[in-house]
Symmetry: C2
Subunit: 274 residues, 2 copies
């Protein structure tokens, strides 16, 4: 039976890439502060990088800032990824980076908004409200979630690194819960690249899960260290998200192709060492 | 200097009410599944209950489900509260229940969306990403946040009740952090009414903060127990959120007036006991 991660793995095989291209139309990076300009910014990146993208990740915040017009643009961005997928004959999943988290009918509303209205394949979620806040997003196993585990910002540790009475940290506890909850192959984890030793520990707690990994490049995380710490035994299990280094490149296509190749090269060197 | 909570306390004094009226246009409760119907649903409640409302709390999930049109409706709902405020000559704060949580420029985007684009006075936030994810929402002290502390859903305890190595629970730790972070009088906490003993413990950890309290009524929390457990010494510090019991009442005006009066009566009986 197909699941979100079986679709993702098919795409990873099709493009030999673990690169997730972030679509962050930050207002200061736009030609003008409008939803139309945000859309144009994203379409340019999508068209240039689709052949090298295992997934695309639009961040809802940068669209919400334009109100209703921003939501229309967000839907158009997701539609554009579908068109590129059709053109390439390979389904490129869209991960909506929305970091939602709510309960009961509100959670159902967010799931419906992300998967049915916007048409995303996957969404990032904040796990703080517990399992019943996640469930409404898991019903359709062809749709997936990445739960925030350890993020890449300076104060991520305020809560995420708290040590529980059991001796494990909160983020490792979340990794273990996610590994246990993943009965439909549609739960992954967000784990920042900024601390490779953390990536390695989360990999031990969640040996099977896919990680969505922000923080490489502009945020200072090292690509090789991250891959070595977090890849699964099968050489998959990590989506390396890059946004600014691609968007700000003179040629986003070359930047994405280069990142795809760097990942392949590092993976190759790891196999060589075994 | 005015702050979000000084505005709220002024409104609480004006209407002798600690009632927060939830605006949850759940699709099954609407005449038809459209943004126009969601707007109509909310406008009816706002007009009927404004005199008794210390605040209004629209939940973003129920609007997002209608895409761009939903966002237009959400802005119209917030505008309608402003019109009622003008009519009554008393500013009724709007708390956007969006449970956002993101970092850096994304957090700035959500803050701008909530406060500038939509025009809300306050937003609910998920604290899992740490202090730097909250900061962008605190810059203007006339705008406020309620951080999720202990929610009212069945699985809230999955993470929120975890015991730290210090012996305190995660939600109590968050309450202590929020009390310490509240240097501009614009941080409160979301604490469910379902466990009054929890409310009492959070009050000990955060003696000064306002609590936004869901879970009374439809979710089973008892009003008197909640107020006795969570009110501050000054008889303020709790906003009792009610959504369904008001929206589903034959006469929402009477339902809201009745809740306002019940709260007053319970407060009166508490003073009498001292």
């Amino acid at each position: 039976m197909e699941t979100f991660f079986s679709f993702l793995e098919k795409r990873v095989d099709d493009c030999s890439s673990l690169l997730c291209v972030g679509l962050d139309p930050f207002v200061d990076d736009l030609q003008e502060p409008t939803a139309a300009s945000a859309l144009e910014f994203c379409l340019r990146i999508i068209k240039a990088t689709a052949p090298y993208a295992a997934a695309f990740k639009p961040n809802a915040a940068f669209f919400e800032v334009f109100g209703a017009e921003g939501w229309t643009a967000l839907k158009q961005v997701i539609d554009a990824v579908k068109e590129e997928s059709d053109r390439l004959g390979s389904h490129i999943p869209v991960i909506l980076d929305a970091k939602r988290g709510d309960i009961a009918s509100s959670a159902e509303g967010y799931a419906r908004s992300a998967f049915k209205v916007l048409g995303a394949d996957c969404i990032t979620l904040n796990p703080y409200l517990g399992r019943d806040s996640i469930e409404p997003f898991l019903q359709d196993r062809e749709k997936g979630v990445f739960l925030l585990c350890k993020t890449s910002n300076p104060d991520a540790g305020d809560l995420q690194d708290l040590i529980l009475v059991t001796g494990e940290s909160l983020h490792i506890h979340i990794a273990s819960l996610a590994q246990a909850w993943n009965t439909k192959n549609n739960i992954g984890l967000v784990v920042g690249a900024t601390y490779p030793e953390t990536l390695a520990r989360v990999r031990l707690a969640a040996p099977d899960l896919w990680f969505l990994v922000p923080g490489v490049g502009a945020q200072g995380g090292d690509l090789a260290s991250a891959l070595k710490a977090g890849l699964r035994q099968d050489g998959k299990g990590m989506l390396i998200n890059v946004s600014r280094s691609i968007a700000h490149a003179d040629d986003p296509r070359l930047a994405a192709a280069g990142l795809r190749d760097s990942i392949l090269q590092i993976k190759g060197s790891m196999v060589g060492r075994d």
